[in-house]
Symmetry: C2
Subunit: 757 residues, 2 copies
């Protein structure tokens, strides 16, 4: 998993949000996409299904899978894959391992030292074993702390503290008159995906990059540290990939195609996703002497972290010597485990479920807590098949390898099977790690109502409420305004956030155009073991879902979604929530453009008034901002017309469904054809050109931000153009996206007409 679950105290409500709607779906109504009769049958099978997953099994699976380090290329990675294969087969799935050959550099040399500053310090770069934690002692198998896909380098330069190292931080540095040109930057983790930090640093001329876990976000500020508590200890380090995945994920050498043995490959030097400068992650114990050696301006208030020191920006005076080199050869083998249950009626319609099995070290939480739920789902579905259940559609369970370095296993598989997936995929359901707390769903808004319906049928182990009800009440509790609460209370469904990146849904959704959902529980327990040697069975069974009841709930949710999609007469895509969401995005974009105008106009006025001269402290002068041209008005009409078309077509489709439901009979006649259209509905949101600056990303509604990495940018071509003040490109992108949405509306209308001519 790429994205660390933030401690409960930091996380802002995600999952399920919510506005304007109707009532609450009564339990007695037929399931969406099922007739009264088929719904009853489905409910019976689902109840059997949800009774099967067992916490004891989950615990045993975790103990086995996390018993040794199992990163890509390690013996236990392959061993785990073969064990999962055996399990899949034992459960009755038609399973095999699919192999790919990928670039995966591992550390050769790592050095961080202070030089030239009168101070002597060499960073430890090691995570010590903890006596009571048995697997923390497996030093010989552990990958050292590093950032995969850092370029090799050996640099010595003064240090500059750049806060989170995101573009806004460099704007502030510029105001402070501090340049990172020729410097080594030190950035703290968070507020962007880690790979953004060296990318932006290099764009500003830095020659090296250190990334540290600040105790404010990830250490004692959050609570007691491991082993006394769940939080990151002083020497804990967050490993992780810094491949430029917002450009393209997967094997750096084979963009867009499966990394099969004979695939055409880039040379390493040609791969644009490898960092431009060397980068290394460090612990806060290692960061403290480096940050303490900085002088210069005291860091702005919101740049200061939790270390017991005054944070300074620098540059220098102390210089840092950073050396990072990797073993780039040979290519490593990925072991994707794929198990199928063939469909009885529509074998060419695939419902896909995945979770990765590789870890940075032992990975009990990430990814094993998710992988064990997936395994238990496979067992449960296998049992029901043995008991006579026949899914209409083909079900494919996948245990991906190589997610940690760059979504390698899922990406290479989904690139290799691109044409098949475009033709056959109904949906992809992902998970990746799991914890205690609330049910979090993100994904395609054509499946928003579907995912709400699934959540209504899963029971929260702690409160015995449905996980849907619990999430809804949590959203009410977290809402910041009366308007937000009002929306949650009125809307039939909880809003689901869109998917950015950070796990294996990326290629399915954003490259292949497969409607995708990501499931997981969390939010009650904190943690600070992400991508460290302490993410292991000992930690998980002391500080997370210790009795595996949330593992069971995840297995129930995942398998229910899979079974329902596999069995539905009419695929449960829905377009009312979808149109409502797109309408919200368009409003946001208009507000964003307006805000850009307002902000620039106001700043220009303040420059004229002399605000900046008047408030500039001569002892700490800032570079005054320059007058800027007020942005032009953009032509949002095409998008607004497209939203109207979407709303109209969604209403047509809803009406058609109601007519079919009313008639009862003669339902199945046109369903096969309609289902083909529904399967294609997410594909229609992609275009073959992809996003203007990164053609691998085909989806026109969802992409990870080019400068955020994890966090989604919805309607990315338009939104990022506005953010980057590229007004011409924004206007062009509006037209392109509007065209895509008009085609989507046409497809939905066509499905409505086919359904109820």
């Amino acid at each position: 998993m790429f994205r660390q679950t933030l401690p409960a105290s930091i996380v802002f409500a995600c999952l399920f949000f919510a506005p304007v709607g109707h009532g609450v779906i009564a339990e007695e109504q037929p399931l969406s996409g099922f007739s009264a009769q088929s719904s009853e049958t489905e409910r019976q099978w689902e109840e059997k299904l949800r009774a099967i997953p067992s916490p004891e099994n989950l615990r045993a699976y975790m103990q086995r899978l996390s018993a040794r380090p199992h990163h890509v290329g390690s013996p236990y990675d392959q061993d785990n894959a073969e064990w999962i294969l055996g399990k899949f087969k034992e459960f009755g799935l038609d399973a095999h391992i699919e192999q790919f050959a990928v670039l995966f550099p591992t550390p050769k040399q790592r050095l961080v030292e202070l030089v030239d500053g009168g101070l002597k310090f060499t960073a430890k770069l090691e995570e010590p074993a903890v006596p009571e934690d048995p697997t923390s002692h497996q030093q010989s198998e552990q990958l050292p702390t590093y950032n995969a896909y850092s370029i090799d380098g050996d640099v010595t330069a003064p240090l500059v503290y750049v806060n989170y190292g995101v573009p806004e931080d460099y704007e502030q540095l510029e105001r402070m008159g501090v340049s990172v040109k020729g410097k080594i930057v030190i950035a703290r983790y968070y507020h962007s995906w880690r790979g953004i930090k060296p990318k932006v640093a290099a764009e500003h001329g830095a020659v090296g990059c250190l990334i540290f876990s600040d105790p404010h976000e990830d250490g004692f500020f959050q609570g007691d540290t491991f082993p006394g508590g769940p939080y990151r200890p002083p020497d804990g380090v967050q490993r992780g990939s810094v491949e430029d995945m917002p450009l393209y994920p997967g094997d750096p050498l084979t963009p867009g195609v499966g990394a099969t043995k004979d695939a055409k490959r880039l040379r390493v030097e040609e791969a644009p996703v490898i960092t431009k400068i060397p980068v290394l992650p460090i612990s806060y114990a290692d960061a403290q002497p480096l940050l303490s050696a900085l002088t210069g301006r005291v860091a702005p208030a919101d740049w200061r972290g939790g270390l017991g020191i005054a944070y300074h920006v620098g540059p220098g005076p102390a210089k840092v010597h950073l050396r990072v080199t990797s073993n780039w050869e040979p290519l490593k083998t990925l072991y994707d485990v794929v198990g199928k249950i063939p469909g009885s009626t529509f074998p060419d319609e695939w419902v896909i479920r995945g979770n990765h099995h590789d870890a940075w070290v032992n990975g009990a939480e990430d990814p094993v807590a998710g992988q064990i739920a997936l395994l238990e789902e496979a067992r449960a579905l296998g049992e029901l098949v043995k008991a006579g259940w026949k899914p209409k559609r083909t079900i494919i369970y996948c245990a991906w390898d190589g997610e940690e370095p760059g979504l390698l296993g899922s990406t290479e598989w989904a690139e290799e099977h691109y044409e098949e997936l475009r033709a056959h995929a109904v949906a992809y359901i992902n998970s990746d790690s799991n914890g205690r707390g609330y049910f979090n769903v993100e994904g395609s808004h054509t499946l928003e109502k579907f995912s709400n319906d699934v959540a209504r049928d899963i029971t929260d182990p702690e409160t015995k409420l449905s996980v849907w009800t619990r999430a809804r009440l949590r959203d009410i509790s977290n809402a910041r305004t009366a308007e937000q609460r009002e929306e949650i209370r009125k809307r039939a469904d909880l809003r689901i956030p869109a998917l950015g990146s950070g796990s294996d849904y990326t290629t399915f959704l954003q490259h292949d155009g497969v409607a995708s959902l990501n499931f997981g529980f969390g939010g009650e327990d904190g943690g600070g073991i992400y991508h460290s040697i302490y993410d292991d069975f000992y930690w998980f069974t002391h500080f997370s879902d210790t009795d595996f009841v949330y593992g069971r709930a995840l297995a129930q949710a995942g398998s229910t979604a899979v079974m329902r999609l596999a069995d539905a007469d009419l695929l449960p895509f829905e377009f009312g929530d979808f149109a409502d969401t797109v309408q919200m995005y368009v409003k946001e974009l208009k507000a964003l453009a307006q805000k850009s105008q307002d902000d620039i106009r106001e700043r220009n006025r303040e420059i004229e008034e002399g605000v900046f001269q008047a408030t500039n402290d001569p002892k700490r002068p800032l570079v005054p901002p320059a007058v800027e041209a007020v942005p032009p008005h953009l032509n949002f009409a095409p998008l607004e017309n497209a939203v109207d078309a979407l709303n109209r077509s969604a209403a047509e489709y809803r009406k058609a469904v109601e007519q079919v439901n009313a008639k009862g009979a003669a339902r199945s006649a046109s369903f096969a054809e309609v289902n083909k259209l529904l399967m294609a509905s997410e594909r229609k949101l992609t275009n073959k050109e992809g996003l203007p600056t990164r053609p691998w990303f085909k989806h026109q509604l969802y992409a990870p931000g080019f400068y955020t990495g994890y966090a989604v940018k919805t309607v990315p071509a338009v939104r990022e153009a506005i953010e980057l003040k590229q007004w011409k490109q924004a206007d062009e992108a509006i037209a392109v996206v509007a065209g895509v949405l008009e085609q989507e509306a046409a497809l939905i209308s066509s499905a409505a007409r086919k359904l109820a001519p």
Copy 2:
């Protein structure tokens, strides 16, 4: 000074705010309250006046006054008073020292130790000398670190961390199921005046109270610590009074009357303003082992400070032994230095200017930086008298003693001279410490326009803008919304905040009903030496107004205000800004009552919906809130009618002034009578019953909050009743305040009629 100037990064814009108005007053117009001719004469004298203050003198005065510790009862306190007396006389003032005899306890025993927890720790309770700082070595004369007016006590009990120790914190503790009954609490400084912390702790049953300076607000989190920077070093301690001044300030034994030798006195045991439990301030170096010894729940995110530890709430397990005893006898002598320049035309109209001279230790910033400006003002005015200037009114310059323990010198003097002040006082202008940056004014809104006019005539040393323009541009820069900026840009005058408490204006304004202003510069430099041995000449000349140009600006502002008030034909009180401000307060009160209804209604609804059960983490359960009756609607009509009356009378008065200005001649006929009414206008805002729960406080618009201490509560009887959910009392208070405001409106109308019959 009671109130520490927060570092620039924490301070929220205070000073001069601003809404809806007219234009900007042109320099050429006559000064308000002056005819064209008298205005020209006044301007000439003022220009001479502002040319006199000299940074060299200011520096020399500071070196002298801060050369040794000079707290109440110390030899150097008396020595300074006598030196100031000599200076006043040398400058030509008719000066004398007025003595009072007051209760001022000094430390006898101080002990804080961990017991019973397996850990051994005894707090140091000492501030070490710093080699390069000469006065930090004067140990034998320094008052030890303590909180004056703590009751004697010797208690041993488990410790509980209570965040800032304000009422909301105890509400959170209750939700957490933590009681402080029988416990010792440890609270951090800030977010209330310090005396609130032991008061609220005792109300909740605590038996002892420690107050520490957390490095987040007051230490390395802000920047480099002394002597490397201006911020509080690990062993630095904030001394300070914990007398319950929101009940009454001044000598605890003589409430309401001057503490003359023969005054009738309470016994110490009878004095209600002495704390109910022992209390001691400690450094963050001393606090860290205590806080580290706490277990129990991890403190809520916004309770966590800057120490490099996980903050826990407790209680315990470690117990603390706290012993505090004081030398309560004998009474100490106060030396108030009072110097007069008699008025030539209206000797019975007094313009009073004050700043205290006592300090906790050497007190270079607090109070000497303000005291030296006052001295230089006295010299400047004295020189002009020698040059032929004859103020119409009597000018009284006061150097107060005993401000630090409880506004003793100013309170006893203003109580002793109560009847004279009610009869003769025009206005009181206070200062208390000074620094580098923006001009801050707070005070009576009848003088809002006047203080704006003064600020327009003072030049900022750094930007060469007027201090008014600089403050206005800073306010625009700090405004959080477009509406706030709009108001600042449109309103003729900058809003001035109301006075709460924290310095010597308190008794003048809130007990005697004398219109008051408080002047000072600051906001650019940080500091962490407040009430410590490091607040000295070395610190000030390294980290604050190092070249004393802001000391000169303060002397210019203070003396300009004094001269203009002393010379005006018609006293420059104005009621448009005043009525506008009262109207704003009434709107705030209505919104506050509405919010209380809305919040309770919403919480009740969430309780019914089950929000609290759904979001209660079973591993860290919170006590669910109870359903509460929705507050009744209050009758705000009397206040709204009173505001209308104020607006009408303010318009009448403005019109009358315009008529007089138009006529030019025959001006002075009625001025004497009108001036009497204007002088009485602030008195009319008081009533003899005072506030319902604290009769010493007579002013019906301004008081320090009973549970905030420094921060003002405007319309306190109404606002605090609403905050405490005392609806009946709120309705009663509305009627009382409305009556007072109606009388004020009548007085203003009467002044208008007298002025232009």
